[in-house]
């Protein structure tokens, strides 16, 4: 990755401090090297998509961003500062990042509204009235105003994931992390989640998205990072990755998915 600066040419907000920067990040599980020296940056307002085969390390990298996985080597910067190691400081950082999980992970014992307010109420200490008002605005944004008092079990997968996005947004994060947000969804509900994400991107939210939805990456990403075996194979704007990949492994991966532009 000696050409990161060259490759960065033309990226959004490339001259200001990146929101997230990974420098030679390493992660080991026993003998298995999950991340083998990964360097990449996420600029403000950018949508960065991480693609690659299953088990190639893209989800692991995403999870190191908010320290759900602790890195074994290299550095990770959030807003120009190294990711802290104390638990209290990590919590502060996590409050500024939103995360959306593959399996939604809504809290089943809470209503939709309570799922969205629990973060701000517990962590930010705002009033219940304010939290509720904020939640209702977000429910409108994800198109689920009428579901406020339902429980997650009564919603479709797509609706649950939209609530999960609203829950993360309720913390007013500076960056949103999406870990394969549509992989657990029925095909007919994938679109509604991707639309919400697209709208978020259009509003200028900084997003890191691990995805297998190549058409989403092609259409929405500002920057695409291709993973294989814990390393970055290639990174570049979607036009390069999808239309003129420079690396054989990128081409192979895309052709396995049946990508043909």
């Amino acid at each position: 990755m000696s050409n990161v600066t060259e490759a960065d040419f033309g990226r959004k907000n490339a001259s200001s401090t990146p929101v997230v920067e990974y420098r030679d990040v390493r992660k080991q599980y026993g003998n298995f090297t999950a991340l083998d020296g990964v360097s990449a940056r996420v600029n403000r307002g950018e949508v960065l998509c991480l693609i690659g085969p299953s088990g190639s390390g893209k989800s692991t990298l995403l999870r190191t961003t908010n320290a759900l996985e602790v890195i074994d080597g290299g550095q990770l910067y959030f807003d120009g500062h190294p990711l802290p190691s104390s638990k209290a400081e990590i919590r502060k950082v996590r409050q500024r990042m939103g995360m959306v999980f593959q399996s939604f992970e809504l809290f089943p014992h809470k209503t939709v509204l309570e799922n969205i307010t629990i973060g701000p109420l517990t962590v930010l200490g705002i009033s219940e009235a304010e939290a509720n008002a904020r939640a209702r605005v977000l429910l409108e944004k994800v198109g689920l105003t009428d579901k406020a008092d339902r429980y997650p079990a009564n919603l479709s997968g797509g609706q649950q994931q939209r609530v999960a996005i609203a829950r993360a947004l309720a913390m007013e994060p500076e960056v949103m992390l999406f870990d394969e947000p549509t992989s657990a969804l029925d095909p007919e509900t994938i679109g509604e989640v991707l639309n919400v994400m697209k709208r978020l991107a259009d509003e200028g939210m900084t997003m890191v998205v691990v995805t297998h939805e190549m058409s989403f990456a092609r259409r929405v990403a500002d920057w695409v990072v291709v993973f294989d075996h814990g390393k970055i194979v290639e990174q570049g704007p979607p036009a390069q990755i999808f239309d003129a990949p420079r690396e054989d492994r990128t081409r192979n991966f895309l052709s396995h998915l049946g990508w043909n532009g």
Partner: protein, 219 residues
Amino acid sequence: MNLDWSVVWQFSGTLAKGAGITILLTIATMAVAVPGGIVLALMRLSPNRVLNWMALCFVEFFRNIPLILLVYWSFYVLPVLSGLTLPPFTTGLVALALNVSAYNSETFRAGINSIRKGQSEAGLALGMSHIEVMRKIVLPQAARRVLPVLASTWVSLFKDTSLVSVIAVGELAHTALEIRSQTFRILEILTAMAVIYWVLGYPQAKLADWIYRKWGVKE
């Protein structure tokens, strides 16, 4: 064989009082053993090795010795060790609470472990502390999962309270056995005792089944 059931009516007040003490002892034991079980489970799950080990020893000790032995031990040995002489009811309560706390701890531990990791991660990702995640996300869900198990522990406990009769706690079994030795109406009194246990226990078992159906895990 001539049976004389009048003895049951004659002593009905005493039997009712014994049954009342049985119920009271069950409630008191659970009132101690539920919080006790939660504390032990949290100790077992804590990263602190000392807490972990203390809880493990407690649970494995009290779960694996016969309850009747524990009852005798609380009656004869505990006063010597502690220097306190407790009334029989309290002594019985101590023995039962030690045993049931150990069982409840395993129930709660399994309940907490059954909540998948993603739930905690979702809480942590919002910036919550581990304690907040435990209190607001994991424990409320675990409580629902363990409720059916706690209900069946309750039903067993209700019957197991009869073991404390050996240290003269005036609960139902002890009362009935006393009446038996006064009157020599063995068959009548034992039958009455069985009927009372059954009549009180059956609705509890049915309630436990209902709780199981209503609160059992369905995701």
